[in-house]
């Protein structure tokens, strides 16, 4: 699998393959193709919501850094790691 760069653009998969619900800041996601359930913590949920295919991973990181007042480079490392995990699980697809 190709490695993600900060310039990569990902989009979360949606219905009908995935169903999800937010519970107290955490996201429970059901993947009907793999019959698998996933739980995203609040940070993962925030990233998930921003992966709509409209911005790069760096852009997503900037957005989150601005919202939480953290340095962009610190946030970028976390978002990149989380995006790789989502891609591995088949919960997000790379657009570019």
């Amino acid at each position: 699998m190709d490695d993600l760069t900060p310039e990569a653009v990902l989009r979360r998969r949606g219905e009908p393959e995935l169903a999800w619900v937010e519970v107290e800041g955490e996201l429970v996601v059901y993947d009907s193709e793999r019959d698998a359930l996933h739980l995203l913590d609040p940070a993962g949920t925030a990233v998930w919501k921003l992966l709509d295919g409209s911005r790069s991973i760096r852009g997503t990181s900037k957005h989150l850094a601005g919202a939480f007042g953290n340095p962009v480079e610190d946030v970028l490392a976390d978002v990149l790691g989380f995006a790789r995990r989502l891609q591995d699980l088949g919960l997000a697809v790379r657009l570019s």
């Binding site: 219905e15 169903a19 619900v21 519970v23 107290e24 429970v28 059901y30 009907s32 359930l37 996933h38």
Partner: protein, 273 residues
Amino acid sequence: MTGPQPAPAGGKPLPQRSTPCLARLNALEWTATLAVRVDRWCVGVRANSEEAAATVDALFAPARVPPLDGVVAPNFSVRVASAEPARTGRRDLHLVYRDHEIVARRRDTTRLLDDLVALVEATAHLAETEMLAVAGAAVVVDGAHVVLLPEQQHRTLLMHAERLERLELRLLPTRSHRIDPTTGELVIRRSGVAGDETIPLRVWFVRTPTGQESRLRRAQGVQAAYPTIVNQAALGPQATLRMLATASESVLFHVAPAMSSGDVVATVQRLFG
């Protein structure tokens, strides 16, 4: 080649999985298998005597489908014990099996038949679309709250039903239950009485890979409870998750540890006794 066949007028026969245990049960003496329409299903109920079969016939009279008697699989089996004491000097228990598994055992036939009606009616939960239908062992505490345990523990609790009742803990006979997603209440059909009984679900024990007894965050609980929803196919995954999230707003989720029968009763007693 033919296309999909419409459900027959008597309902779609409820399938049954063939197992060695079922073969042993089949080898016992049975008088008749009666067909009963439950929602869109046709369910088979067999009995071990002419008298028991006549009672089952009368019990389900409005929903009976006589043309399918003996044609449907024996999804439920009713064994009414002999009035004579067994060699041990004690009277045997009256039993209801679902497939090959004992799901009700009573000394009182009236209570056994109440259990049977509830168990057969629960079959319709598979097609329920307005509520969540969940598999589990439900214990009503002081008539005020419900504790839901994994379905596998129903059999264990059933063996302690009388002990539980002395503790004001009422084990529901069915192993699937309807939950109103807007209120988080268990909706219990009362046989012979108009209207449903609703009791808030307060504690939900779920199975997780780790198995330690501990509180779960609600999202973890929703994740662990999802596989226990028996009407997922009728609801679809998105509605199932949404209903679970709403229904569990006032629920405390715990991990269900592997427990002996005594531990199960003790745990319920410790929480609410």
